[in-house]
Amino acid sequence: MYIVIAGGGEVGFHLAKALIEGGHEIMVIESDRRRAQWIEEQLGSVVLNAPADEGRYQLEAGCQRADAVLAVTGEDAKNLVICQLARYNCGPHGRVIARVNDPKNEIVFKTLGIDETVSSTRVLMNVIEQELPASGFLPLMPLGGSHLELIETEVTPGSPASGKAVRALNLPEGSLIGGIVRAGQVVQASAEAVLQAGDRLIVFAPTAAEAEVRKSLFG
């Protein structure tokens, strides 16, 4: 495939490198002369030293025959204009893909005709939400003069603690639920109190037993 990369920053450079390694033909458009020179030293004659948001340089870079144009500068407004001009300059088969820095702008780009966007913020958020379901587990602080610490955590809908009485939690020895925050009110964590999804717990526990606390609450 022939791919035009608009913007030779960190993202643009590494993308270019990976695409070359994958056997693709590429062209990077970079407006900064020294940066363009540096990329050329690293990757060979695959750089056009020009502003990518001007139509004639897109044509010079061969957008007409490109299979894809990727706008990956650090500026959303610039990426939008690069893509809209590329839509104008590309052949009908050419894909136009924009990097979006502010995730709010994904919807803006879509409304303005640029359907394919990649938001690194969004991608990272998704990873964090999937990989760290217990991210609501927050060691707050060590308690002075002891080997204890204070943990704040949230009972999530799927967690084994949800629907269980405090006495049935199987918390490690020496740990204690100090209180339950439910709908903005503090509820006493008596042995009979039944935990619900959405409850926030304040837990006292030996620092060494943090992993066990996590296990008994989240499985």
């Binding site: 948001d53 139509g55 959303d76 204009v81 104008y88 709010k104 803006v108």
Partner: protein, 165 residues
């Protein structure tokens, strides 16, 4: 008429001053607080410190009630993005963008955004003056001179000469 102006540089601030003096509702938005110093001392309209191509900032400043929207920052791309948001997302009727690159101007004009390049406007005007084509620039020059007289007059009136009284 409610007018939202993004970019309070010399052009934005001067226009804001004219519209405000005529009694229109004017809001100017800029990312730099220092830019608001360009506004005339008599300006009674609103100012907002923020990014004029941010949906929330525009909503906060009543873009849904704006009769006209002008993107007059120093960046062509920012102006084009803000102008398109005003037109396509908020449906503002009259949308203007300052765009210095004539090629970009042309393409976005086809999308229904009135693009203005002061480079080409000034060049065309000067060319006409050199050729003594008075009809091209006469009205414009007359109004400009009138406005400039007003602005300098105001500045003289604002100057602390009264302190000697």
């Amino acid at each position: 008429m409610n007018v939202l102006i993004v970019g309070c540089g010399r052009v934005g601030a001067t226009l804001a001053g004219i519209l405000d003096a005529e009694g229109h509702g004017v809001t100017t938005v800029d990312v730099e607080r220092a830019s608001f110093a360009h506004l005339p001392a008599t300006y009674r309209g609103a100012t907002f410190l923020g990014n004029g191509s941010d949906l929330d900032v525009l909503r906060q400043n009543g873009i849904d009630k704006a009769d006209a929207f002008l993107a007059l920052t120093q960046g062509d791309n920012r102006n084009l993005m803000a102008a398109q948001i005003a037109k396509e997302i908020f449906g503002v009727k009259r949308v203007f963008a300052k765009v210095n690159d004539p090629i970009r101007s042309e393409i976005y004009r086809e999308k229904g955004i009135t693009t203005i390049s002061r480079t080409t406007i000034l060049a065309v005007l000067l060319h006409a003056m050199l050729r003594d084509e008075r009809e091209v620039g006469e009205v414009l020059l007359e109004r400009t001179l009138h406005l400039e007289r007003q602005m300098t007059g105001q500045e003289l009136a604002d100057a602390p000469v009264g302190a000697k009284r």
